[in-house]
Amino acid sequence: MTNSPQIVITGAGAVSPYGSGVAALLDGLFSGKGCMHSVPELEALPMVKTKVAATVPEMDYSFIPRRDRRSMSLMAKYAYCAAQEALRSAGYETAPQGLGFFMGSTLNSISVWLEVSKNCLERHLELVKTSDFLQIMNHSPLATVSQALKINGPCVGAADACATGLMNIGLAYLAIKTGLVRQALCGGTEEYHPMFSACFDIMQATSHNFNESPNEACRPFDKDRTGLVCAEGCGLLFLETKESAQQRGAKILAEIIGFASNTETENMAYPSAQTLRECMQAALKNACIEASQVDLLNAHATGTIVGDIAETQAANAVFGPAVQMNSLKGHLGHTMGASGSLETIACVEMLKRQEILPTKNLHTPDERCAAVNHITQPEKCSVNIILKNSFAIGGNNCSIVLRRPQ
């Protein structure tokens, strides 16, 4: 794309297992704090091996006007908080005219769906409220937050499971780059339900050997890992052209210089190293940079056996064994649709602080994941370019390339 505008990040908002706000997220990550806990509903299910999750601490959402809140599921409330914070951090009290909004989730609110389903199955349709339906529409968080915050540009939600957050950042990047919108909010949101853990457990993809010490349960690349820890939250970024940011004097947090996406068609659940490699290479090509210019690969790495191996092999093939690599799932768990955008916020901070976060709980790398330079301790160093991955069940892969403001 020649002569296309440069795209920058000028705002961020987060709700995570560390609490509400970007500050809470970054404080939790950079202090290495744990946020995982046992889940009583899982304890009550003997057939489900995993017993831990990372959930957002309970909060009071009554500050959201009732008329907006009535149609919001929990994940929409997370998105409202994150959107408001992202707007404010970008310098806006209200949404600017024509703002685009790109946000999705893996599923909609399971708890509301179950309640509605129960009423339907028990032939009590008279108990179903309009506000119930509005909470279980696939685009419910996108619709309710855009209504509440008067976001009147295109509102579009990619729903690519675990890649949702990053995919929406990519869509927003492309939408601004091609002139569809000048500015956009983008990312993903997700609401935990024990069903998430149970379903990944059925697929043999959960952590189950550290149930007694939840904060050690998610251990990307480690030899003792058995799988992921389900989590929730919302991460949103405010994107605009560099020209727009400069014109209004907004602080540029980072630049997005490349994006790519592809799809694994051989298997829904097992990514091949080749497809992941091609995705990262396409992102480098889109960014017009060489692999050697990348200072850090922020991996998707959720702590599953096969996923971590495939990503390591792909990383080695693209960057060679010296590439610095980390994963944030050991801190946060897998926040599903929110993971790509919450972790991008952390990447922006690593560019700012010139400090690479370690992969929490990575003590002894699995020898099949060893062919890269794993970061296991906080590392102060020059970090100018980060390539960030998100890969989804279903085979949807994406990578973005972030650069420190110049």
Partner: protein
């Protein structure tokens, strides 16, 4: 037989809980839309919560849209309650 006072108390209780209203807003002459601030979506959900509260169907055979004030609502429920009690 349920008294009108009881109908008013139960109705106000349901509306306060569902729509986060205060006693001050629930004066009998209050206009449901203009004064109480309920819109068309609230009106549908109001029927759901009142049906649960009173254990009877409100939405069939009557034009709920003709209810404008809280007093209209109390009248409407009272009329239905009397018919309900009479076994109609």
């Amino acid at each position: 037989m349920i008294t009108r006072e009881e109908i008013i108390r139960l109705t106000n209780e349901a509306l306060k809980t569902e729509f986060e209203l205060t006693d001050a807003q629930l004066v009998p002459t209050a206009h449901l839309q203009q004064d109480v601030g309920l819109d068309s979506l609230d009106a549908v959900d109001m029927v759901v919560v009142l049906e649960q509260k009173f254990g009877m169907t409100l939405r069939q055979g009557y034009d709920i849209r003709s209810i404008v004030t809280l007093n209209d609502l109390y009248d409407f429920i009272e009329k239905l309650a009397r018919e309900h009690e009479a076994g109609k």
